[in-house]
Structure formats: C-alpha cells, structure tokens
C-alpha cells in the first residue's frame, strides 16, 4: 500500500478534520473529492494529532517488530478509539452524545480518562460476566444440567465478583474450594457445570479454564494424577426442587473400605505432595495453582486478557498452552505476568495497562501484508462484533428491543424489554439472531466455541431481513410503530427542512460509526436521496441499512 509521507499526512488530516466538521455545509467542498481517496480514507482511521506514547508493554513488541523489519501501524483516530474501547471494554456502542463529548474533549489525557470511566461502568461487569460464563459453561440444560435457578445465582456471583474486581487468585480459589448449596453458595456450580462428576473430567475442566491447557493432549498419567485432588466430591439433593449440595465427604466409609483416600499425588508439574487425612485435597491443589510462580496460572490469565482485547493471544489459541505452541513474544508474556502478581491479581490493572498501550491504540490498517505483522501486534486486528454486541448495537441505534426465549421452562425468568443480550445470564435463553451469529452454546468452555466468522446467511439477514428492516422502519416511520417517537418527529420535520436532514445524517453517523460523515459521504448520500428510488424516510432506512452492512460497523476496527 502506498502511504503518504508523514508531513503530508499531518497537513492533510488537519485539513480533512476541519473540513469534515464543516463538511455538512450545504455545498460539499469540491476540492475534497479531488484529494486522493486513499489519503482521505487513512485520515478517517488514523490520527496525527494524537500519538500514543510507547509504554513498557510496547517495548517488547516494538523490539520484535524491529527484528522482523515490520513497521507498526499509526495510532488510531479518536473516533476509532472511542468506538473500539467501548466495544472492547463494555461490549456496547457509544451513543452519539458520548462520541461527540469525547471528540470535543480537549484534555490530552482523555483516552486514559475514558478507559478509567469505562472500567467502572456496570456494563463492564455485564460484558465480562458474559465472557466468563462462556468459559464456565453457564447454561440451564445440556450437556450439563445446571437448571435455571442455579444459573441465575451463578451468573450473579460471577458478575458481582467482576464488579468488585475480586483479585483473580481469590476468584479461582473460591470456585475450586466451594462447598454447599448450588443456590446459596453459587460458586459450587463450577463443579456442577461439568458433564459428569468423574475426577478426570473435573481435572480436565480445571486445566482448560485456569491453566489454559487441553488435558486431551497430556500424557494420561498427568491427568489421572491431577484427578486425585478432585476425588470424593459428592452431590446430594434437598427437598427443594433442583437444589443440590456439593461437598467433599472426608468421612466417606465407602472410600475407606475401597482402600482409603490416596496418601500422595502429583501436581501437573510433576511435584509430588503428601495428602493428609481429613483435609480437602482441592485446597492443596488450589494452593499449588494460584502461586505467583506458577506460570500455568498467571500465564494463562494474562494471555487470555491479551487475547480478549487484542484478538490474538501471545500464545494462540489462548486455551492451548503447551510446549510445542510457544508464545510469540516471551518478554511480553512475562512482563504481564509480573504486572499481575505485583498488582495482587488485579485484572482491571491489566486491562488498564493494555488499553493505554500504543499497541492497543494502533490503527487497524496494516503497513504490510506479511502475516507475521498481525501475529506480532503491528496493527489492531479487525474482528466481527460478537453476536450479543451486534444485536445490542442494532437495538440501540433503532430504539427497539428483542425477544429472548428459553426451552427450559421453569422457573419463569422475567427479562425486561430493554435488557441487553450481553447481560443474559443463561445460554439456554436465546434468540434466532444470536444463534445465527455464532453465540457460543457454552458446551465446552473452549474459546473457539465463539465463532465470529461471517456467513452468507448472516449477510442475507443483515441485508434484507424483515427482522432488521422492521427495526429500521420503526425508527424512521413511527406511525407504523409504537417505539421511538423522538426520531420520528425529527424525520417528519426533516422532510420539510433539508437543514435538519443533514443533522439526521450526522446523528446516524455518530450513533452507528462513532464519527462525523465526510463531505464525500454527504455528497454520496445527497445524491442518493435526490436520485434513488427510495425517498424521504425510506432513504434514511436505506442509509442505515447500508452503514450497518459495512465492515466499519460490523467489525471492531
């Protein structure tokens, strides 16, 4: 790709920035259209007024890129940043007002301040509870049967833990050593969310979730040795429907008669440990697991957080850590591990560190086609929005809501009409849209269960479905719908006054793409509204539909 020189770029982007703000004057500037398309485009996505300074996270990455002779991408523009950070941190599009507020903010620290604000939003807990519920397989039925009551309690516990920013080692320890009722001590559901109560199955789930490794690939002895720590976990039901007590029976006579509890076991690293009677062996395992010097533990979580925010793990796949799958950047991984331990397992600290890095704030436009560039974080990799995030965004910008259903009928779960799908507690509660767009079923806890690859059926739905068209029309034709009168009034006015039609277009751009339209785009739209078959509100429906179908909307970028 040919790129303009830096100086040229600065001048141009300043020019474009001012023009794009002024651009919705009645007559779009003709000169702007003559500017080479490529440079104008780059200015939409890249910033020269703001250059993120390299911090310690960036150093190992820049060193690696230098050794590969790859130039890192430029810093992303403010509008790209505001959109990206909202989507990545709280799984929610920024509103037009939030975008405007951020773009107009003159504080040089505004990116850092925005990151801090987002990390404190309730939606942060909602969105990351969703991700953790994927990994912890939180659903009512099949292939594991948690049932609705327990799912609700477990989801609430996970979300509360995230909201409190519970230290990660404590979070894991509480899950691994839980005892009691699935309703009253919801963390015991960790042990119920496995497909059977066999010690090997539990050990494999622990290895996948907290060590990021697939026990299928282990020597079988390693798994059976680890399984020893999870022997003797029992469940008993109570008089309450679907209530179950999970506990370790230290006095189980049948175990004694079958040769007694094991007296020693091996951790996955091969260290042997004596097991004392009358001790819950899960405690012994948890003590080993959550140590600062356990690379499986710290490495797996920092790598996951990196993967969640940057789309590619330092070790990739993030849950396939093994000797033959080395990290792409060992220094980066150990730096993050140190940070995690130093901060006493503060996950938000990791988020803050990564989000403030120059690496995270790079543009998505690659400087080279070499595949190593993306693998080594030379640019921000584009990814299609998660199914939940996408439908929430569409509902937000159209002022509509969705209906969610579960096949598991009892107890009845009330879902308020305005509930975002990122806050759905249960993968058994779903909608055709979520299924079509690859929401994970939460069968396995594998990251790859979430499939964001596009399909023709998805495009068919986005381009031409009555589901989507109804939503758009209810925004622009309120007479046919009860929702969103505000937009309707504005449009009725707009038919008479071209001035406000332009305000509508600006509003559409701010709320869909988190940026102002360029004068080139305004001209395209002006032409469409005057020459195309669709007129008035229909043209606005077409505009929104078209923008929804651009990768700029569909992809994190």
């Amino acid at each position: 790709m040919s790129r303009p020189s830096v100086i040229h770029c600065v001048l141009l982007s300043t020019l474009l920035l001012s023009l794009s703000h002024l651009g919705f004057a009645d007559e779009p500037s003709v000169t702007i259209q003559k500017v080479s398309g490529n440079r104008m485009l780059i200015a939409l996505f890249e910033s020269n007024s703001h250059v993120s300074r390299a911090c310690r996270v960036d150093e190992p990455i820049l060193a690696k890129l230098e050794s590969l002779d790859i130039r890192a991408a430029a810093t992303c523009s403010d509008s790209v940043f505001v959109r990206r950070v909202y989507l990545d941190v709280i799984g929610t599009l920024p509103t037009a007002e939030e975008v405007k507020g951020f773009l107009e903010d003159r504080n040089i620290n505004k990116r850092r301040l925005l990151i801090d604000r987002l990390l404190e939003r309730d939606k942060f807990a909602d969105y990351w509870a969703m991700k953790w519920c994927d990994l912890l397989r939180v659903r009512s039925e099949f292939p594991i049967n948690l049932w609705p009551n327990a799912v609700q309690a477990y989801h609430r516990w996970i979300r509360d833990s995230i909201r409190q920013n519970k230290p990660y080692d404590q979070f894991v320890r509480e899950l691994l050593t839980a005892n009691g009722s699935n309703f009253r001590n919801p963390e015991v559901n960790f042990y119920r969310a496995v497909r059977d109560n066999k010690p090997e199955t539990i050990a494999a789930a622990v290895a996948l979730t907290f060590m990021g490794t697939r026990a299928d690939a282990w020597p079988s002895k390693r798994l059976s040795e680890m399984a020893v720590f999870f022997e003797g976990i029992q469940r008993k039901s109570t008089a309450e429907w679907k209530e179950e007590i999970v506990f370790v029976n230290l006095l189980d006579a049948s175990i004694e008669s079958a040769g007694g509890r094991p007296t020693s076991a091996s951790f996955p690293d091969g260290t042997r440990v004596d097991l004392l009677p009358m001790v819950d062996h899960r405690q012994v395992f948890a003590d080993w697991l959550v140590r600062a010097e356990n690379p499986w533990f710290t490495g797996s979580i920092v790598n996951r957080v990196w993967y969640w925010l940057l789309g590619i793990g330092i070790i990739h796949e993030p849950d396939d850590i093994r000797r033959s799958n080395p990290p792409s950047n060992r220094e980066l991984l150990s730096l993050l591990q140190c940070e995690l331990v130093k901060s006493e397992y503060d996950i938000k600290h990791l988020f803050r560190l990564i989000l403030n890095s120059a690496t995270y704030q790079r543009s998505c436009i690659p400087t080279t086609d070499r595949p190593e560039a993306e693998r080594n974080f030379a640019h921000y990799p584009i990814r299609r929005l998660d199914a939940e995030v996408l439908i929430d965004a569409i509902c937000r910008i159209t002022g509509t809501s969705e209906t969610y259903k579960s096949l598991i009928p009892e107890p009845w779960t009330f879902i308020p009409g305005d509930q975002p799908s990122i806050a759905l507690p249960d993968a058994s509660i779903t909608s055709p849209f979520l299924e079509l767009f690859g929401r994970p079923a939460r069968d396995t806890g594998f990251e790859l269960e979430r499939n964001n690859a596009p399909t023709a059926e998805q495009m068919l739905h986005l381009l031409n479905s009555s589901h989507l068209l109804d939503k758009l029309e209810s925004r622009w034709n309120p007479q046919t719908s009860a929702t969103s009168p505000r937009f309707g009034r504005r449009v009725r006015r707009s038919v008479a006054a071209p001035q406000s039609a332009q305000a509508d277009v600006t509003d559409v751009y701010l709320s869909l793409l988190s940026r102002y339209p360029t004068s080139h785009e305004l001209e395209v739209i002006r032409k469409y509204t005057s020459e195309a078959e669709a007129q008035g509100n229909e043209a606005m429906v077409d505009l929104m539909l078209s923008l929804i179908n651009t990768p700029e909307f569909l992809y994190r970028h």
Binding site: M1, N38, L41, I42, L44, F45, E141, F142, P143, N145, R195, D196, A204, R214, D216, C364, I365, P366, D369, I382, R384, L407, I408, P432, E435, L436, G438, A441, D443, T444, F446, N451, A453, P454, T455, A456, E457, M459, L460, H461, L463, N464, S465, S466, L469, V524, I525, Y528, A532, E533, A534, D542, L545, S546, L547, N549, T550, P551, E552, Y555
Partner: protein, 443 residues
C-alpha cells in the same frame, strides 16, 4: 450389526457403484450391499425431516394402545386400520392410514432421556453428549458430504430449515458456520412467503441494487484496507447473499406457482404449506430440508391440542407422500418423521395438567418413507402400555446410520473433529453409543 450375505458379482458391483470413491473400497462395499442392490430404487438424494418439536405422543399417533385402558389411551380409543393389513394408527390420521404402504413405522425408538435439549441432541446427532465438543446434526453432516464439497451447485443452500431455527441442534456443531442451515423464517401460509432475507415485500429490484451501490460507496474500511483477507471473506458472503436476493431464489419459495387445488390439499396452514415448500426444495435438489413443526410439548390438555393438530398433520403429510410419489420423487426422497422423544404413556389427569403427557424417552415412534426405505412395515414394538421397548430397540444412531446408507454416505467416512479425534459419520461401537443395528429389515 447384521449384514445380509452379499451375492453380487464384481461387474454388478461396479455398475451399482454410483458413488464409488477411488481408494475407498469400503464405500463401494457399503453402497452396493445386497439390500441396496435388491431395491430397484437407487439411492436417496434428499431428505425431508419433519421434526415434531417438543416431542409428539407416540400413543396418540403411530403406536395406539386402546387395550391399555383409558388412563393410557384417553379418548383416542378407536385406532383405525390402514391400507396395510395389521397396521393400526390413531383415528385422527385417516389420510395417512390410506398411505401406509408408503411408510414404515418404527415403534421401538429409545434413548431413555426425558430432557428436551439432551433428547434433541441424541436424535439429531445420534450421539450421546459427553465429548468436549458438539457434534453436527444429521442435516449438517449431509450438507458436509453431499453439499458444496461434493459439487452441489444449487441456488438454495443444501441444508434448509422451514421456518424456525431449532437452535443449535439443527446446527453444524464442530463442522462450523459453513454447514449451518438456511433458516427461512416467515410463514408459507402467507402470500408471499416472506423468506427471511430472500423475499421482502415492497422493495423493488431497483431499490435493492441502488442500496447495494450505496453500501459500497460508503464502505470506507474496505477501501482503506483493500487487501484484507478477512474483508474478502465478508465480501464473498455478501455476494452469495445477493445472488439469492437478486437471483431467482424468491421464485423457489413462491408457492403461488402451485395450483390452488394442490395448495388446499396440503392445508392452508403453516405446516401444510411448509410441506409443499419442502417438495419444491426437493425439486431444486436441496439435500436436506427440516420442517420444525411446533406445538407438540403437550404437558397440558394433550387431547384438546391433538384434536386440533393431528388432522392438520394428517392432511399435510399424506398429501406430501402422495405428491412426492406422483411426481416420481419419493424413490429418491426420504421422509423422516420424529421428535426428540415420545410422551408419558400414563395420562396425568390431575390439575394443572388436565389430561397431559410428560416427556418420555424410553420408548417412542418414528416414521420413515421413501428414498429406498420399504413401506408398509412395522419395526420393533413397545410393551402393552407403550412404556418400554418390547423388541428390536432402535437407537437414534441406527436410524441415522440407515438414512446415511440410503444417501450413500460411507458410515466410516471421517468428520473433521477440531481436536483431531477420529470420528466417523455414523457412530461406531468404540464410541460407546448404544446401538441396535441398522434398519436392514426396511432397507
């Protein structure tokens, strides 16, 4: 698994080897087994799966038990004879009774699971839950072996679902997005049948084209990164979608092209017209069509509900069998009727059920017709009350394996397991899946 002795010459073997795969002698052996050679019908090309969503009562459809008394059969105590001597079905299915020579009833289906999702998974995949990943449904497996990879060039995706998505159990499992079905949405009983994404009322072709151009003109990210492989993949999906929107996709779903008389005889309701749409899809070469037929989870008021639903089902299915047969399509089209399980044989008369039936996985019925399956047969039986299997248990994988055999899918062909595990199209004994053997008696 019993196999009939093969007495077929090498030449005959080759002649009948319609789907011979070089280097895969097993496939040939499999497809030209004695039973396939004996039937003159050739191999099946398409499947219409009628999914009795929620689990239909076996006692109130194809396995009536009037002798068990009114606590079991309720008001449906007078089953009717069919055109095959010795086969009786529910009195509310008189039209299907006239077509019994075209289908076989399996009265000994079993898997023992009484939960919707798990039962659905078992019947749709043939496998027990337990592996760490989800398996593909039959439709996705058929799409994998007989769809695009096998040179399928139809306009409509090879696996199509009418009209609602069942959720992930009519899904591709680990086969991935490419093998998910097209789900039509809309209602074929309405004119037009607004197939989601394909048919939109009131939007002209001109507007579609102008809108597409607008979208391209406003697509700044693709212009900024013109060589992105990810955006190229998205573009490909968009092109495929538009080939349906702007192509003749809508015509396939335009049921107004059928005569009013035929439309009436299918029944002017969602299920009836779905059956008609399914026949049109078969004519297009679509490999696997699922009709998700809602409303069979009759915990309450089972009999009131069925008095209304069974005549609808009867009319549509009987017309479908007749229509396929008259058009010469039944020989190459399998019709498979089943839900995730049957329903509790002993009726719950007490409130709040008021004559309801719960979930029942230990014995239930399925029906198969066409595609080389013999008609007019009963396979297996349940006990006097329909509670357990009396003889010849048929597990989901037996039925699914038999369908694959009719479609000429080699049971030992491998599925691409994401963790590298060796898995075959049809579960094998090593997987520990309970099985009673292929349905050799009706193949």
């Amino acid at each position: 698994m019993k196999h009939e002795p093969t007495s077929i010459s090498r030449r005959g073997f080759l002649r009948s080897g319609l789907c011979s795969v070089p280097g895969l002698p097993l496939a040939n052996h499999f497809c030209s087994s004695a039973s396939a050679a004996r039937s003159k019908t050739g191999t099946a090309k398409s499947v219409i799966q009628i999914w009795m969503w929620g689990g239909a009562s076996h006692l109130d459809t194809f396995d009536p038990k009037p002798e068990a008394g009114s606590d079991y059969c309720g008001p449906f105590s007078k089953p009717i004879e069919t055109n095959v001597p010795g086969i009786r079905i529910c009195e509310l299915l008189p039209e299907l009774a006239k077509q019994a020579d075209k289908y076989s009833i399996i009265r000994s289906m079993t898997h023992g699971i009484n939960a919707h999702e798990t039962g659905t998974y078992l019947v749709q995949t043939g496998r027990m839950p337990g592996d760490s990943v989800s398996y593909p449904s039959v439709g996705s497996v058929v799409s994998y072996f007989k769809g695009y990879r096998a040179g399928y060039q139809g306009m409509i995706p090879p696996y199509t679902v009418l009209t609602k998505r069942l959720g992930r159990f009519s899904e591709a499992g680990f086969l991935g997005q490419r093998y998910k079905p097209l789900v039509t949405g809309g209602d074929p009983a309405q004119d037009p049948f607004a197939v989601e994404g394909v048919v939109v009322e009131g939007i002209s072709e001109r507007r579609q084209k102008e809108r597409r151009e607008l979208m391209h003109n406003l697509d700044m990210l693709s212009k900024a990164m013109p060589r992105s492989p990810k955006l190229a993949a998205l573009k490909k999906c968009e092109n495929e979608a538009y080939s349906l929107i702007l192509g003749d996709g809508a015509a396939v779903f335009d049921l107004a092209q059928e005569s009013d008389e035929l439309r009436e005889s299918y029944g002017r309701n969602t299920f009836g017209q779905s059956c008609l749409a399914a026949r049109r899809l078969v004519e297009q070469g679509v490999r696997f069509i699922t009709i998700n037929y809602e409303g069979w989870d009759t915990h309450k008021n089972n009999f009131t509900t069925l008095r209304q639903k069974l005549p609808e089902m009867d009319q549509a299915m009987a017309t479908l069998l007749k229509d396929l047969s008259e058009r010469g399509l039944l020989d190459s089209t399998i019709v498979w009727w089943s839900g995730e399980f049957g329903r509790t044989p002993k009726i719950q008369w007490e409130p709040p059920y008021n004559g309801g039936r719960g979930h029942w996985g230990s014995a239930f019925s399925a029906l198969v017709a066409g595609g080389g399956f013999k008609g007019g047969q009963l396979v297996g039986s349940s006990d006097a009350r329909g509670e357990t299997v009396k003889d010849r248990p048929v597990y989901p994988c037996d039925l699914i394996g038999s369908i694959y055999q009719r479609l000429c899918i080699n049971p030992l062909e491998k599925l691409p397991h994401p963790l590298g595990k060796t898995v075959h199209a049809t579960p094998t004994a090593e997987e520990g899946v309970p099985m009673g053997g292929l349905l050799t008696e009706i193949i």
